[in-house]
């Protein structure tokens, strides 16, 4: 396990989350609609950020499976708000030069005649800087 304390501090500051409040009940992961698609589940994000074990998260597809549905934020009995950690780690990745996940030229292949603008702007906000 690599300990990255600078990045850990950044993630905690960006998210405003205190991972030490977590009591390990797992309710965030139990309620996560993307659970089956995630390599690291919401409760693991909390634990790994607390331990400074950020590197595996930076490389994980799990960052792009979070639906921003706020279910884990709403249902956490300790108000840890795991989705804010997922978002901070994702931003730490896509803010890097050249790290945009989605590019305008990708859209034509995915969009159809009914695709709402809301879908495009939301996806770009989540996948690109």
């Amino acid at each position: 396990m690599s300990h990255n304390s600078n990045l850990q501090d950044d993630i905690i500051r960006m998210s405003g989350v205190n991972p030490r409040k977590c009591m390990r009940c797992g309710k965030c992961s139990a309620t996560c609609p993307a659970y089956d698609e995630m390599e690291y589940h919401p409760h693991q994000f909390v634990n790994m950020v607390e331990n400074g074990d950020i590197e595996p998260l930076l490389k994980s597809e799990s960052l792009y499976r979070c639906l921003s549905c706020f279910a884990c934020i709403e249902r956490c009995p300790r108000s840890v708000e795991p989705a804010k950690l997922v978002e901070a780690v994702r931003l730490a990745v896509i803010r890097q030069q050249g790290a945009n996940r989605m590019k305008p030229e990708d859209v034509a292949a995915i969009a159809d005649d009914e695709t709402p603008q809301q879908l495009l702007v939301s996806a770009f906000r989540k996948y690109s800087k």
């Binding site: 639906l67 279910a71 996806a123």
Partner: protein, 262 residues
């Protein structure tokens, strides 16, 4: 009554019904929606990171414009409402954020979250009143069994949105009752449709959307209503075999102003 109105990008394009029926219905109920001048896209999703400033400025500009007119700011789209309300909450509660935003924007005077932010459903419930809506119904929807699909963005985070109980909401069911129809309560009504993940992982969105439709049908619904263009898109695209319509369309139909629109 006049209120400021933020339509949002989708309501001027792929979700024109949501917008047009909101105007018609509001007019029938004695409310004028005054569109914010030069509004800009809300961005679709609120970025929770505290160091993210630029993506929240369009919401602050709209909020400030409404405040300058002394009006509440109303939106119909679940996503616009969520982004604007969360931004307003940040302006109220995060002094560091508000300082940076105000210093950057240099509007006429500071803005610190004074505007009342309302979803159109709240306008109906809290300003007009469902009793008044009921009195204005000319085409009762009696006999229809309608499932209200809330999704994520209308209700969560509950401490910010404060529209309703985030786990056991009643606002849309109460509207359905006011229009004469029978509300169908179902477990998945406040679970995610898959949202923007349908861009990258259509299979995940299909799974989530199908679960919503199947659950509504199992409870006897013959129609689903929503306030969110993306929820509607995901449900319809993934093969919903009962109608999925915007709540404003249902309202306009009951108020007898639907046919004026097309």
């Amino acid at each position: 009554m006049k209120v400021s109105y933020f339509p949002g990008c989708t309501l001027k394009n792929k979700a024109k019904d949501l917008d047009a029926y909101a105007y018609k219905s509001a007019e029938a109920l004695g409310v004028t929606l005054e569109e914010i001048e030069n509004w800009q896209c809300c961005g679709g999703v609120f970025t929770t990171s505290k160091d993210e400033i630029a993506t929240k400025l369009s919401s602050v500009r709209a909020l400030k414009a409404a405040n300058d007119k002394g009006q509440p700011l109303v939106s119909v789209c679940s996503a616009c409402h969520n982004v604007i309300k969360q931004t307003n909450y940040a302006m109220q509660t995060d002094k560091d954020f508000a300082f940076k935003v105000n210093n950057y924007l240099k509007e006429d005077g500071p803005y610190n979250g004074e505007t009342e932010v309302l979803h159109f459903l709240e306008l109906l419930r809290d300003k007009i009143g469902f009793d008044t809506v009921k009195e204005k119904v000319v085409n009762s929807l009696k006999g229809k069994k309608i499932a209200a699909y809330y999704g994520c963005l209308l209700l969560r985070p509950g401490k910010v949105m404060r529209m309703d109980d985030p786990e056991n909401p009643t606002i849309m069911e109460d509207l359905i009752k006011a229009l004469g129809a029978e509300p169908v309560v179902f477990a998945n009504r406040n679970e995610c449709c898959g949202g923007y993940v349908s861009m990258e992982s259509p299979a995940l969105a299909a799974k989530k959307s199908n679960a919503v439709v199947e659950n509504a049908k199992a409870k006897g619904a013959d129609m689903i209503i929503t306030a969110c263009p993306l929820c509607r898109y995901n449900l319809v695209k993934n093969g919903a075999d009962i109608p999925v319509v915007y709540f404003t369309e249902l309202l306009a139909e009951a108020l007898g102003v639907k046919e004026d629109n097309k």
